[in-house]
Every structure is written in structure tokens, then in C-alpha cells.
Symmetry: C2
Subunit: 511 residues, 2 copies
């Protein structure tokens, strides 16, 4: 029994070493790999991914899991019922996560995996072209193929209520389509009038952000904020890449990237804070989980809650800039910001404007972009929407939710890479992150009543310590739902995010 568990842990450790090695191959590809290396790099990645899959789905793993599970109980138990200080806590959480990964991977036949890899590789190339040419029909047959494979995947994996549950489960374990629909409906109903109110006001002048800000100085300021957030440069690095990301190359090697746009102060600034939020999560995981399947964030939604809390709830707050704006203006960009005062800056940082592109959207409208994608994905997977009708449905949804209509598919249905990668079920996690983040932050404020004063003095440690104690250290030993219940005493509730937005944008009007 003990020997069988040890063998599983050893397999898991090897898998994690390979996962982290593959992460280095990818990190290097994004940050500085010479162009000529791209072909062999993809062979290297394919080999490693194959080895990871083979180790995870080896028949021996299935046998071992079956035997060990008989002792430990079947998956489906709640980790909240287990004493987290008992040694059994790790074992049970480990078996739940590892078993879950095994189940999903072992169910999918190699034929399906290979076909998906090939078709999504071609679909990505087609998407790049279609977007460049603003020509959806070029992408349509590829997306139809990926949708067919995705629907096949849902049937192979099985699902409790809706086929979309099986897709969601990959990114947000144990989250259900019905649950997402419920919270998104509530959110949408509250957000739309709020957006309408603010859009009707005098437009905010944020033109100062588009002055010229040298990259080197931006880098220094990003590094400083990361350091003061608690990002540990002895266990990480800050580099540049076309698309910012955070990646773990080991429990003690959590790297972030950003992108410096000299004509836009906010890109790298909020990008760095966002990625820093992801990185604090990974850096804060219990060292005992390092090298195991538990040594990573528990879901994309919880991950996004950490990055968005830092980017928005903290990084766009009056308190934060109360401390950092004088620093930014005096020590970094005295010329560029000479005529800008704190109030002007904070309004610029929080400008709300319904727009076409999700990744450029403000804090208030962002979730509506996500809700549109969720609705369309569910309709596609249910068979209620055909791929060929997607552009029209997109434009109708943008009008309905945001009051704007794209003048091209390139700025509409073709804007995101996700579908071309076959990643259907991913988008909701972005908005779930907003909801989890606000729900957790409310508890944080109750636990640390002085937190706003601390932030206003540039003291960010209390936030990170609270997050570390309540969220980070658990890695993936608790699911998102368990974490949410443990922290807030209730299920996911969009009310907190809405209250936060109403209060914040109400107050900003009084500035």
C-alpha cells in the first residue's frame, strides 16, 4: 500500500520534472529563442508532451490508482472534511488530483489526441491568415472540425448535466455550466445598466498614457512594483515577450514576462502587476507540494482571481496610486507626467468605455466580453448555433451586451486565439476570476480592517500574507469551490464584484 503510493508519487514527480522542462522550452521560445530554431523546438515539445502523456496514462498507473483508491476512498470526497494538519491530507489531495488527471488523459484515445494536435496546429495558421485578411470563411471549416472534435471529447469524457461541463472541467475543475450561467446572468443584469450610466458621462481624458515612456524606465518601475508586491527575484525573472505570461519552471522558479510599449504607459505596468499576481500564487504554494501535482494553482479561475485582484482591486485603486503616483512622477517620468495630478491619473487608470477588443477592455466592461464568448460556446456545443452563423451571432451579442458593433470580423469574432487552439471552455475562467477575487477581497478587508491604509502607504505585504495563508499555500489540494467555501462561507456569489464596482465607480464620480 505504502509502496504503491510511493510509486505513484515517483511517477508524478517525473511528470512534474518533464512538465517544468517543457515549460522552459516554451518560455525560451517566447522570450529569446532564435527564429531558426522554431522547427526543432516544436519537435522537442512534442516529444516531451508525448512522454508526459505516456507516463500519466501507463496501464501500471491505472492499476496502482485502483488499488490505492480502494483504501483511501473514491474521488468525490471533500477535502474540507480532512484535517489539513494530518499527513493523510496530502495523500488524499494528491490522489484526487493525480487520479483526476489520469482519468481524463486515459479516456482520450491516442487517435483523438493526435488528430486534435494536427487539426489545431493547422487551424492556428488558418486563423492568423483569416484574421489578417478579415475573412471568417477561411477559418470556418477549421473551426467546424475543432468543434466536432471538441463535442466528441465531451462525449468521451462524459459529463453530469451538459456536454459543456466536460470542457469547463479541464480549466475549472468541477465547475458546472449551470452554475456559470447562473452567476453570469446575474452579473450581466447588473453590469449593463452600470456601463450605460458611465458611458453617458463626460469622456475621461487619458491621453497622457500615450506619451513617450522609455522602455528601460518602464522596466525599472515594473521591477520595483513586483518586488514590493513580494515577488522574489531569487526565485523568478522578469523578461519580455509578445504576449505577457507567467510560467513555473519549478517550485522555486516562477517567471513572468511583460511587453513594453513606449507609446503606452499602461501596457507593461498593468501587465506586470497582473502577471505578478499569478506569480505570487505559484510562489506561495506550500513547499511540501513542490514537485507534485499539488504544486500548482488549483484552477484558472482562482489563478485569474489573484492576477485581477492585484491588477484591478489593488493596482487601479485610489489607495495604491496615492502612494505610487508621486513615486512614478518624481523618480521615473517627471517630464511626461509634469502636468498630471493624482486625480487625473486615477481617472485615466479607471477609464470606462465600451469597446471591441477584450484584451484592451476596462475593468467594468471586461466581463461582458467574456459572457458573450461563454454564451456562444454553449450554443455551439449544444448544436443551437452553427459555426457559419457565428459572426452574425457575435455582432448581435456585442450590440446587446456592450452597445457596440465591430466593423470587421478581425476586430470581432476573429480577435482571440483560443478557439483556433481548440480551447473551448477556457474563456469563462477570466470572468470567474473577477468574481472570486472580489468575494475573497471582501473577506480580506474584514480580516485586515487597516488594509486600505496599508496600501495607501505602499505596504503591500499584508495582502500577500493573507493570500498566502488563505489561498496560495493550498496549491491544488483544495478545489476552487472548496476554497471559496472555506474562505467566504458561501458559494460563488457575483454580488461582491458588483458591489465593488458600484462603490468604486460611484466614488470615482465624486473625485
Amino acid at each position: 500500500m505504502e509502496a504503491q503510493l510511493q510509486e505513484l508519487k515517483k511517477t508524478d514527480k517525473e511528470i512534474q520534472l518533464l512538465v517544468h522542462t517543457a515549460a522552459l522550452l516554451q518560455w525560451d521560445q517566447e522570450t529569446g529563442m532564435p527564429a531558426g530554431a522554431v522547427e526543432e523546438r516544436s519537435d522537442q515539445l512534442a516529444l516531451l508532451e508525448g512522454m508526459i502523456h505516456d507516463r500519466l496514462t501507463a496501464p501500471r498507473v491505472g492499476e496502482l490508482l485502483k488499488k490505492v483508491m480502494e483504501k483511501f476512498g473514491t474521488p468525490g470526497f471533500s477535502m474540507l472534511e480532512v484535517d489539513e494538519n494530518a499527513p493523510i491530507f496530502f495523500e488524499k489531495a494528491f490522489l484526487r488530483s493525480f487520479g483526476r488527471n489520469y482519468e481524463r488523459a486515459a479516456k482520450l484515445p491516442r487517435r483523438w489526441v493526435t488528430e486534435m494536435a494536427q487539426k489545431s496546429s493547422r487551424a492556428q495558421a488558418a486563423w492568423v491568415e483569416a484574421r489578417r485578411n478579415d475573412n471568417f470563411p477561411e477559418f470556418q471549416p477549421h473551426l467546424e472540425e475543432l468543434l466536432r472534435l471538441t463535442m466528441e471529447k465531451a462525449e468521451i469524457l462524459g459529463y453530469p448535466e451538459h456536454p459543456y461541463d466536460a470542457l469547463l472541467d479541464e480549466f475549472e475543475p468541477e465547475m458546472r455550466t449551470g452554475e456559470v450561467a447562473r452567476v453570469f446572468n446575474e452579473l450581466q443584469a447588473k453590469l449593463k445598466p452600470l456601463v450605460g450610466q458611465i458611458a453617458a458621462k463626460e469622456p475621461v481624458d487619458d491621453s497622457f498614457r500615450y506619451r513617450t515612456y522609455p522602455a528601460d524606465t518602464q522596466r525599472e518601475f515594473s521591477s520595483r512594483i513586483l518586488r514590493e508586491m513580494g515577488y522574489d527575484f531569487d526565485r523568478g525573472r522578469l523578461d519580455e515577450s509578445a504576449h505577457p505570461f507567467t510560467t513555473s519552471l519549478g517550485g522555486k522558479d516562477v517567471r513572468v514576462t511583460t511587453r513594453y510599449n513606449e507609446q503606452d504607459l499602461f501596457n507593461a505596468l498593468f501587465g506586470s502587476i497582473h502577471e505578478g499576481g499569478h506569480a505570487l500564487y505559484e510562489m506561495g504554494i506550500d513547499e511540501n507540494y513542490h514537485g507534485s501535482v499539488l504544486g500548482e494553482g488549483t484552477s484558472l479561475g482562482i489563478h485569474e482571481s489573484q492576477s485581477r485582484t492585484w491588477e484591478n482591486l489593488i493596482g487601479r485603486s485610489v489607495e495604491f496610486w496615492n502612494h505610487y503616483f508621486p513615486v512614478l512622477k518624481k523618480d521615473y517620468f517627471p517630464e511626461q507626467l509634469s502636468d498630471i495630478d493624482l486625480e487625473h491619473f486615477i481617472r485615466g487608470v479607471n477609464k470606462v468605455e465600451p469597446s471591441l477588443i477584450r484584451i484592451n477592455a476596462d475593468e467594468l466592461t471586461y466581463s461582458l466580453h467574456v459572457i458573450l464568448r461563454f454564451e456562444l460556446e454553449v450554443a455551439l456545443v449544444s448544436g443551437d448555433l452553427k459555426v457559419r452563423d457565428l459572426p452574425a451571432a457575435w455582432n448581435e451579442g456585442m450590440k446587446r451586451l456592450l452597445g457596440v458593433t465591430p466593423d470587421s470580423d478581425a476586430k470581432g469574432v476573429l480577435q482571440d486565439v483560443h478557439w483556433s487552439m481548440g480551447a473551448i471552455g477556457y474563456f469563462p475562467t477570466y470572468a470567474l476570476g473577477n468574481l472570486f477575487g472580489a468575494q475573497f477581497f471582501k473577506v480580506l478587508r474584514e480580516d485586515i480592517p487597516e488594509v486600505d491604509r496599508e496600501i495607501a502607504r505602499g505596504k503591500l505585504r499584508a495582502v500577500r500574507e493573507w493570500q498566502g495563508e488563505n489561498i496560495h499555500r493550498y496549491g491544488s489540494s483544495l478545489t476552487a469551490t472548496e476554497l471559496c467555501g472555506k474562505i467566504s462561507g458561501e458559494d460563488l456569489n457575483p454580488e461582491y464584484f458588483i458591489q465593488y464596482l458600484e462603490k468604486k465607480f460611484g466614488n470615482l464620480n465624486d473625485l
Copy 2:
């Protein structure tokens, strides 16, 4: 038959992908990995090295090789007898190299490999301490253990004449101890009087090299020279590391590193040119060999011939600086070099002075440092010298060969890392590189009579093209001995290196 060959090639390709992935893990560790990652990184490397070893020594590989070899003939054939334009050329060369690697790896039992890995890891830590404390006895028991394991290795692998043959063979395939002794004896006999003559003259003033040279400007000049040598930045990168190196992460990803010392102009300058010479070799290998065992340099000696040709024969030549000194002075360091003329600079670049440390030695005395290490290694492996007597033997040898005696073991027998890694048999390749380099360069001069004039105009392309055509493209399909015979029509002959030195240092006296 064809199927068996294909299976071997597929295994080889996987091994190369893993070798290149491991190279990335190492490159990253040397260039920018966060300090905290060191422990997991060594686990990642150990896992990959284990997988490479397991793939190479799988019983199936032995069976396949046996069957295929029956058709293709046993190893030991000369590739010079095979038409290099026939398809069979690749197959025969592939089987020879792959079979050779299999034989060596399969003979060594896992017990030995594990013990060597553990003991050398401890020995390296002990060496660092012993060197710091200038205390050889701290290192002695570790070196005794490594020597025991090394002698055991020689017996396991077998050898034609001398146990040292088996060690040399790892770094310089098919080179014999007797051959090295013959050329080193001749070299030594000629070098000693030459060094004596020059050392007796007025010392050269090279104090200008120790002025302050900002790293950024050094980086720009290093990059420029690399580019003009023909180093392709679309297939490589220049980074910084404590010890400069070149590494292949793929056939189209050959990276170099250097180290900028702001108080010494020559460190990064000649370091970059040296590594550039290694990189041109790897970048020049026939694309058909990429991803196979043939897609790398054929031996350390030939590799070193390429780096030393660029560093010394070209990079320290009157012709090279005739073009580059005005550029360096005008565009890069006008203040630092304001009072230095071309003649002064060239004398500084070629200053000869017997000294204690190999890696700082000049072109003339360098080989004598290597000859000492070779003599001591052979004596140790033969049992003629005990490890405890090594410091005395070292100091005696330094006095005899170079006329200087270390005032500490830290600057003597403890200066190099190699023995602490168990790398006995490696050192000779450094001096063999000087000999191969001069022998090849003589042929290059005959083939391209205008080469010196080209270099003096800053045109380096002709050199690289000749090297590409005659050396680089062959990868490891020809052995060092075959290459040497094919290019120069004779065996390795130290006479050419000696003639080069006599002519160069004779002429420098006339400057």
C-alpha cells in the same frame, strides 16, 4: 534491413532532441536561472540524462545494431574510402558514430555511472573548498576516488595499448596516447627555447587593456565581430555567463556566451572570438545531419582547432587588427585608446610571459600548460604517480616546462575544474586544437593565397567558407584523423604550429 535502420535513426533523433533539451536546461542555468531553482534543475537534468542513457543502451538498440552492422560491415572502416556523394555515406557514418556511442555506454554498468555521478558531485564541492583554502589534502581523497573509478573505467572499456587510450577516446575518438606523446614531445622541445628567447626580451607594455571599458560597448563590438565572422544571429544568441561557452540547442540554435570584465578589454573580446569559432563549426554542419548523431563537431580537438584558429591565428594577427584596430579605436573606445597606436596594440595582444594560470596563458606558452597536465594524467593512470605526490610533481613540471613555480596550490595543481569532474583525458584536446588549427590553416593559405589581404580588409568570409567546405559540413561523419589526412595529406604534425609561432614571434620582434 531498411526498417531496422529507420528504427535506429528514430531512436537517435529522440536522443538528440533530449540532448538538446538538456542543453537548454544547462544554458539557462548558466545564463540567467534564478538561484532558487538550482536544486530542481539538477533533478531535471538527471532525469533527462537518465532517459538519454536508457534510450541509447536499450537491448533493442544492441540487437538492431548487430543486425544492421552485418550488412554494412564492422566499425573500423575508413570513411575516406566511401564516396561522400553516395547515400551510403550517411548510413555508414551514422552507424559508426551511433554504434561507437552505444558500445561505450552499454559497457559501463549503471553501478559505475551512478557512483561516478555521486563522487564527482562531491568532489567538485570539495575542490571549490580546497581551492578557496589553498589546501590540497582536502581534495586528495576525492581525487583518489575519482582516479580509482577512472582506472576502472579504462579496464571496463578496454584499450589498444595504454589505459589512457580509453580515456582520451571519449573526447578525441581514436586518438592514441602514444600519438599524443609523440607530438607533444616534439612540440615541447621546440617551444621551450622559443619561450626562453622571448621571455629574455624587454617586457611588452599591455597596461592599456586594463583601463575601464564599459560592458555595453564591449558587447556591441563583440556582436559586430561575431556577425562579421559569419555568426548567424537568426540561429543563435550572445549572452553572458561566468565561464564562456558554446552550446547547440538544435542544428539551427547555436548559442555563445562571453563575460564582460570592465577592467580588461581582452577577456570578452578574445572570449567571444573563440566561442564564435566553435559556433561557426556547429552552424556549418550539413543540414542533412541535423537531428542525428552526426550533427555535431567530430572531436574536442577539431572543435578547439576552430576556436583557436579564430582567436589566435586570425584574431591576434597583424592583418586582423590592421582592419579592426582603427574601428575599435574610432567607433568604440576613442578615449581609452587615444594614446595607443596599432603597433602598440598588436604587441599588447601578443604579449608572451610564462605564467601560472592556464586560462590566462598566451598563445606561445599555453600548450606547455597542457603538456604538463597530460604528463601528470598519464603518470597517474599508469600508477607511476600517486595523488598525494601530485602537488610536488606539478610544481616541478611548471619549473621544468615554464620556468615558474606556483606559490600556492590554489594557483597550481588546484586551478582547473576538470579533474574534480572526473574528466581525465580532456586536457590534451586543447593543445591538439592548436596543432590541427595550424596544420589546416597552412592548407587554407595555399588554397586561398589572398587570404591575408582579405583579412586585412576585414573580409572574413573566405576563411569561413573554406572551413565550412573542408571541415564544418562533415559534422562527425569523418574522424579527426580522417579530416586531417583528407585536408593536409598527412597525419597530425606539430611542425606547422611551431613554424607559425616562429614566424609570427620573429616578425613581431621586427615591428
